[in-house]
């Protein structure tokens, strides 16, 4: 379980770098893509912010939360294991996955442009979701 926590924390760390990078680069000029086409189109579109707050800031908060939960889990007392962090990560990444799917859909069908940094974030969320154990499955039968 510790390996899984460390893995998820590492993925969240990569997500933090990604979100911070986008927060720095946004509004600093065109953002060239290296793999896809249309990073600037996506990152300056009206879908790139909510009430004036860039989505990358929400992403940063999301990844810091996931990483913090996993770091606490990794440092847990073996005699008193913490169950909350993994359950929280499962539900948080599940919600993140829905948001990511929506954002990838917007890129594919509305903007018709893809931002590689956003796709990386979606891939990270999906991997973290798959790594996080479903708390429902670990309940002992009555």
């Amino acid at each position: 379980m510790k390996v899984r926590s460390v893995l998820i924390a590492c993925l969240a760390f990569v997500g933090m770098v990604d979100a911070l990078y986008l927060s720095i680069e946004r509004n600093a000029g065109p953002i060239p893509c290296h793999v896809t086409h249309g990073c600037t189109d996506v990152l300056t579109s009206k879908y790139s912010e909510i009430a004036g707050v860039p989505l990358s800031w929400f992403g940063l908060l999301f990844y810091i939360t996931i990483m913090s939960l996993m770091v606490f889990k990794a440092f847990e007392d073996v005699e008193h294991p913490l169950n909350l962090p993994l359950a929280a990560v499962f539900y948080l990444t599940g919600a993140g996955l829905v948001v990511s799917a929506l954002l990838v859909g917007i890129q594919a069908f509305i903007l018709k442009a893809f931002c590689e940094y956003c796709l990386l974030s979606a891939a990270l969320v999906l991997t973290m979701f798959l790594l996080a154990p479903n708390p429902g499955r670990h309940k002992h039968p009555q």
Binding site: L20, Y21, P30, P32, T40, S68
Partner: protein, 217 residues
């Protein structure tokens, strides 16, 4: 207490390292962001609107989108630059409305061209960029354009007709074709005397670059 201390220290360190990595990548990207498809020296084939001295030594070409927030942010600085170098520098503006992300970008370009038909292109250019937030995402920006035209003292009937002029639309599309031929990825994209300016160049760097160009003349 010590049980809490370790994870908290690790989290703080991780956030710090992530911030450092992001800044490092951002600076590294700045050095490598030149689009390999974009020629270093290009010849922009005219058609743009010129602001500043006709005999200026330097021409700063801008491919811009009236709805693009970064173009809006650069706008006051470009005006300041032209004031600073009244004889040495001129601005040549070309349209590159990013219609896939900015719903009214094409309409904004049409409004500028329509005002240009009555000799007030730059006045409308300024007004559009300064009031981006008012018309940018409006489902029907035309009344706002008419409001701006009215403030500029334009003939509203003529302006409204010009807003739908296929000839003006073709003029804008010629700029778009030129931007695509130059493999321009976003707005604003600048060229000085045919040399593409780095997309992440700061405003201060641009002043230094202009000074360097003027010294070399």
């Amino acid at each position: 207490m010590s049980k809490l201390l370790k994870p908290v220290v690790v989290i703080i360190l991780a956030v710090g390292v992530a911030a450092g990595a992001a800044v490092f990548l951002s600076r590294g990207a700045d050095k490598k962001t030149d689009n390999p498809n974009t020629p270093q020296h290009v010849e922009v084939k005219g058609g743009g609107h010129i602001r500043g001295s006709q005999n200026a030594q330097l021409t700063l070409v801008e491919f811009g989108d009236y709805e693009c927030p970064i173009c809006g942010a650069w706008h006051p600085f470009l005006k300041e630059l032209l004031n600073r170098y009244p004889q040495q520098l001129r601005l040549e503006f070309h349209h590159y409305p990013l219609v896939s992300v900015h719903r009214n970008a094409m309409a904004g370009a049409m409004a500028a061209e329509a005002a240009g038909e009555q000799g007030k292109y730059w006045e409308m250019h300024d007004a559009l960029l300064e009031h981006q937030n008012e018309w940018g995402e409006s489902p029907n920006p035309e009344p706002m354009f008419q409001g701006l035209a009215s403030r500029l003292g334009l003939d509203l009937n003529q302006f409204t007709q010009s807003l739908h002029s296929p000839a003006l639309q073709n003029k804008i599309l010629q700029d778009v074709t030129q931007a695509q031929d130059l493999h321009i990825e976003g707005t604003p994209t600048f060229f000085i005397n045919g040399e593409q300016i780095h997309p992440k160049l700061s405003m201060e760097d641009l002043v230094q670059l202009i000074d360097a160009h003027l010294r070399s003349k």
